[in-house]
């Protein structure tokens, strides 16, 4: 009888598991085990989250006063560029797929590994290489173009841009190979009985994300390559003095970078779907709608890029088309929100850190998503474009949705990955700091944008000072929350209570093996006989409710 079906059993920590099955540093650097690769992604991603966070704190400290505070203008311009580049390319895009996708996908499919384990290791090495180049750009003086690299500024600024471009190019390869690997894994390595409609929703989310990664990333690869060639070779497509069109750069850049935000948010939504079912011990309300809306977001998201360019000189017709399409994407998210809230109805909700993050996520994704619809309203975006309103909107999604999702995943799957539980009390304290600190940081930024404060401003008119001070104060709360998390999670690695196979009594397939799992994932291949995320009692009459 497996552990997970008996909540009264004493939790057991398996003596031999994937962490200690092979010994020595080289066994890690040459591993083909997706779980070890996921762990190495985790360490790298968290490191770069710290680096990006330090840049963020530097920015917020500088913005405490309207004039120069702790650094010069050129340094500040590098700070926000590197904050963006590190956070987006070195954390947000690789994190949830690289860490949790890698670790969990085979487990959730009842498989022994991903389809191409060596390609998986290559993805990790490419991630490290791209990261090294980005760090190289920082060390060599730093890029100051903004993470958006708009031409002709990016093709003419004397700062160090080429290593950053090369880094992004290589990171793109890592992303493409991961996406490719996951798509093939989901198609070919499902356990017997695991049809598409029985897959856990995290898998649907990763599947949709992987499609975007595979199709969109080559375009940014080419675009940064063209900017690099123009810088180094003096010929390119974007220089107006040679007849080029700088707006063409924007089209090519955003063709990737808009779907990229769905690469960031879809996995997070998948985490929420899985975690909310477990935490509420309930089937997901509207499973099919959530699954299909993930595909819908991926598809429609490819056609919305022009909403970043409403005032760029784009034609009014294009603006209208992009606005309408962007609104459609919002509908898919709204569907998900209704279905997630509906999952709580008549559930058996366990109050825990994942739950706090899920609630935060729900509030933030509605607020962030609808302010997204607001900026997609063309007439309003004329005022908001390139102001702190947009900064607040995307941070509500990037931090409020994606990072909440990441933290949910980190807490929900911590026992699975490490066999131990973290301390719930401290986790709730930290979660409160994070949620409150986040609101205190970014709500003033919405107001600053309304008031007319543009982005990327080293010095600003005095009337924006109060809002900036409030935002910086909030950011210290947010940072403090992360520090607390780091402390109790590191502590829990060694001293946390033994978790056992399934501390959440979750129905997910990954919980049907020990925590931590053995190197080969399952001692016997699981046979799937029920729908995912379903928690009806055994032998009892299954109560069906339709709303």
């Amino acid at each position: 009888m497996s552990q997970s079906s008996d909540p009264e059993a004493v939790p057991v920590y398996p003596a031999v598991n994937y962490l200690n099955a092979d010994r020595g540093v080289w066994s890690w650097f040459s591993t083909l085990d997706h779980k070890r690769i996921g762990l190495m992604y985790l360490i790298t991603a968290l490191f770069f989250f710290l680096v990006g966070g330090i840049f963020a704190m530097a920015i917020r400290l500088e913005l405490l006063t309207p004039g120069p505070t702790i650094m010069g203008a050129n340094t500040y311009n590098r700070m926000f560029t590197l904050h963006g580049v590190v956070m987006i390319f070195l954390f947000m895009i690789p994190a949830i797929p690289g860490v949790f996708g890698n670790f969990l996908l085979p487990l959730m499919l009842g498989a022994k590994d991903v389809a191409f384990p060596r390609l998986n290791l290559l993805s990790l090495y490419l991630y490290w290489t791209g990261a090294l180049l980005a760090v190289g750009a920082m060390v060599m003086g730093g890029t100051d173009t903004g993470w958006t690299f708009y031409a002709p500024y990016s093709t003419s600024t004397p700062t160090t841009v080429f290593p950053a471009l090369l880094g992004v190019f290589i990171l793109g390869f890592s992303s493409i190979l991961t996406g490719l690997n996951f798509i093939v894994t989901i198609h070919t390595l499902r356990a017997p009985g695991l049809g598409w409609m029985r897959l856990q929703l995290f898998i649907w989310a990763i599947y949709a994300t992987s499609i975007i990664q595979v199709l969109a990333t080559p375009v940014i690869g080419l675009t940064v390559l063209l900017v690099g060639i123009e810088r180094v070779g003096g010929f390119g497509l974007f220089d107006p003095t040679k007849g080029g069109d700088p707006v063409l750069f924007q089209h090519m850049f955003w063709f990737y970078s808009h779907p990229a935000v769905y690469i960031m948010v879809l996995p997070s939504m998948g985490v929420i779907s899985d975690a909310i079912a477990a935490v509420a011990r309930k089937n997901v309300f509207g499973y099919k709608m959530i699954a299909y809306s993930s595909l819908g977001i991926a598809f429609v998201g490819f056609f919305a890029w022009g909403h970043h360019m409403f005032v760029s000189g784009q034609s009014p017709f294009d603006n209208g088309a992009f606005a309408a399409i962007s609104m459609l994407v919002g509908v898919f998210t709204a569907i998900k929100v209704f279905n997630w809230v509906g999952t709580l109805y008549r559930g058996a909700v366990r109050v825990s850190a994942p739950l706090v993050y899920i609630c935060g996520f729900l509030f933030f994704i509605v607020f962030g998503g609808m302010t997204g619809i607001a900026v997609a309203t063309v007439s309003l975006d004329v005022h908001w474009h390139d102001t702190y309103f947009v900064v607040a909107h995307f941070h509500f999604i990037m931090v409020g949705a994606v990072i909440m999702g990441f933290l949910t995943a980190l807490h929900y799957w911590f026992p699975k990955m490490f066999g131990r539980m973290y301390h719930e009390g401290w986790a709730m304290v930290a979660a409160s700091f994070i949620v409150l600190g986040f609101m205190a940081t970014f709500i003033p930024q919405f107001l600053a944008g309304n008031a007319g404060m543009p982005r990327r401003y080293y010095m600003y008119p005095e009337r924006f000072e109060a809002l900036n001070v409030a935002s910086t104060a909030g950011s210290s709360l947010l940072a403090f929350g992360f520090v607390i998390i780091a402390i109790y999670l590191i502590y829990a690695l060694r001293h946390g209570a033994i978790a056992g196979d399934n501390p959440w009594d979750s129905g997910g397939i990954e919980w049907m093996t020990s925590s931590p799992p053995p190197k080969e994932n399952f001692h016997t291949t699981p046979i799937i006989v029920r729908d995912p995320h379903s928690y009806q009692g055994h032998g009892e009459e299954v109560e069906h409710v339709v709303i």
Binding site: P7, P152, N283, G320, V341, L362, Y458, V546
Partner: protein, 349 residues
């Protein structure tokens, strides 16, 4: 009501015909956003409390949505989004259609200043745009270097300004006053200081002003910001005026004579050797940096005595100085390196 909402949301004054139109839709959208998100959070909170776990591994019913539920849930957001799209696009088309009788002003953005020129025999200005109240004004804009963006929050207008192309926007100011122009597309070191001002005058006053400008009468004494508002003339002359006023010429000669600081004659694009042995090209960046941080890169043989002009020079003034320095070229085409310094006692202010 309008004013209450405007203040609650930290929106600036509504100083153009566009602003009021935009703001009404803004209130609608933001209100629905706030209500939806609070309602969602609250509902989640209520549900999690009401349906909290009573005992471990409790089982739960299978709850599914009906087709009708899904249709409602899709239809309601779609309806709101469609409403906003239609109203927003209508306002947007109105915004992109300048009236036929609009007065044209040419705008040129460059790092890090705005230059304005009126059509016909109009006056030129740096940093300040005078316009009449109640009459539409069309701006035809281009950039000299990188992409900038012309943004007047009080008017709710914004338009990217591109190199190699003209873009246009228009507005009709409704109240006299001074309204800030901000650059809204990152353009380098002083992007955050690339400011300007729109001065809206009652129509009759504006006509009078325009007449006076065109007759070349002496500049009106303007109590505007020190961004060269009332200076009319070339930017090089303006730079010369600043050089005199700020005391630059006390240390930097204009005729090649070495003095307390390197001479400005042929300084532009000269290769200077620094104290630490490195060489630097005296381009716009170096010249501007030297004004802000004179101790950073000192030319060999000169003492670190230059005061900083940080906070004393606005970006357009610094740019005008650079243009003035650029204009100081001797007839011979050789690059003359800085000669040794000569020290004389100087009265410090």
């Amino acid at each position: 009501m309008n004013d209450l909402m405007r203040r609650l949301l930290w929106l600036p004054v509504q100083a153009s015909t566009l602003a009021t139109r935009i703001d009404y839709l803004h209130y609608f959208v933001i209100t629905v956003t706030m209500i939806s998100s609070i309602a969602t959070g609250l509902l989640a909170f209520i549900l999690l409390f009401k349906y909290r776990e009573r005992r471990r591994a409790q089982s739960t019913p299978l709850v599914m949505p009906s087709v009708k539920f899904e249709i409602v849930v899709i239809g309601v957001p779609l309806f709101f989004f469609f409403l906003w799209f239609v109203q927003g696009y209508k306002d947007y088309i109105w915004y992109t259609t300048p009236p036929k009788d609009a007065m044209d002003v040419y705008v040129m953005g460059k790092k890090w200043m705005w230059k304005f020129a009126y059509g016909g025999q109009g006056p030129n200005a740096i940093g300040t745009l005078h316009v009449p109240q109640g009459r539409p004004v069309r701006l035809l804009m281009t950039s000299r270097d990188v992409i900038h963006s012309f943004y007047v929050p009080d008017f709710r207008i914004k338009q990217d300004v591109l190199p190699g192309r003209y873009t246009e926007t228009w507005f009709e100011a409704t109240q006299p006053g001074r309204y800030q122009i901000l650059c809204a597309e990152y353009c380098g070191t002083w992007h955050s200081q690339m400011w300007g001002e729109v001065v809206v005058m009652p129509a009759a006053e504006f006509d009078q002003w325009l007449l006076e400008q065109r007759r070349g009468l002496s500049e009106r004494v303007d109590t505007s910001t020190d961004d060269g508002a009332s200076f009319h003339g070339s930017i090089v002359e303006y730079g010369k005026k600043i050089a005199m006023a700020e005391g630059c010429v006390k240390c930097h000669s204009l005729d090649g004579q070495p003095h307390i600081g390197p001479t400005w004659l042929d300084l532009y694009l000269r290769r200077e050797t620094l104290e630490n042995g490195e060489t630097v090209l005296a381009d716009e960046g170096y010249l501007t940096d030297s004004m802000i941080d004179p101790r950073g890169k000192i030319v060999k043989g000169y003492k670190p005595v230059m005061p900083t002009y940080k906070g004393r020079l606005a970006a357009p003034e610094a740019a005008a100085l650079v243009e003035f320095i650029k204009s100081l070229r001797s007839p011979s085409l050789e690059n003359v390196p800085s000669k040794e310094a000569i020290y004389e006692p100087v009265k410090r202010p």
